[in-house]
Amino acid sequence: MKITLNGEATEIIATTLDAAVDELGYTGKIVATAVNGDFVAREARGETMLVEGDRLEVVAPLQGG
């Protein structure tokens, strides 16, 4: 289905968040996730179903002031 990953239209097969995280190549990476603006904790990714059009944000540590 079509979702938006970090602002870009993306096609995925996965229907759960953690499957999507794997499918998108974040496996084992240190990232946090939010769906449609709401934080989804790592342990909640399994039960989080994704639907067409969801906005998925995947973030990682970066420099900051």
Binding site: E57, V58, G65
Partner: protein, 260 residues
Amino acid sequence: MSDPVTFYDTAVESRLLLGTALYPSPAIMAEAIKASGAEIVTVSLRREAAGGGAGQAFWDLVRSLDVRVLPNTAGCHTVKEAVTTAHMAREVFGTPWIKLEVIGEDDTLQPDLFGLVEAARILSDDGFDVFPYTTEDLVAAERLVHAGCRVLMPWGAPIGSGLGLANHTGLKRMRAHFPEATLVVDAGIGLPSHAAAAMEMGYDAVLLNTAVAKAGDPAAMAGAMAGAVTAGRAGYLADPMEAREMAAPSTPVMGKAFLS
């Protein structure tokens, strides 16, 4: 002698908090952090490209420096953005500490005190230790303390401006008004003398980034800022003389030879 400063029950010796952004290179950033003696550095979260590893690399570097991290919510303009970012930061960085920024105006990067207080309340209730980036506004500060903040971080001047302490009397009043809170001048520091002046007013610490990262020699400036913070703190504790308009001879006049 030891003179630790406490951030939410965590005592550290260094009163200089340093940002990790804007350095010419990660290596120079690492050098600057070491030179600063900072025990706390600010970090952020940004989008990770699918398959990318930038975040991991940065994180490994920071961890190798053996410092505490203070994640920020830089660039957040709404309470919801800030709260969600804080939660993501807590998971990724494994700390309840959050430098809470809710930006209200883009030319000055001035905090939105309304959103800030609301977000601080939500996050404090949710177990976060909030380090709010605020102004010298005493009423907002009282609301932040009420919301559970034990640290307050008023700006000295707009982020990245290097102007120093734009409202000296306002910052002084804030210190007088909150004798208990841990007060940090955050943003606006451009020179070591600015950092020293903040400490001489009785502030507990200084947080800066651009002045070090954008100096010709970041590591050297980091050391300079560290020294200035220590000097300003020591000067504050040493109980300075009162300034006065007229002069007073240092060398005693009595006993001077008459040689005309």
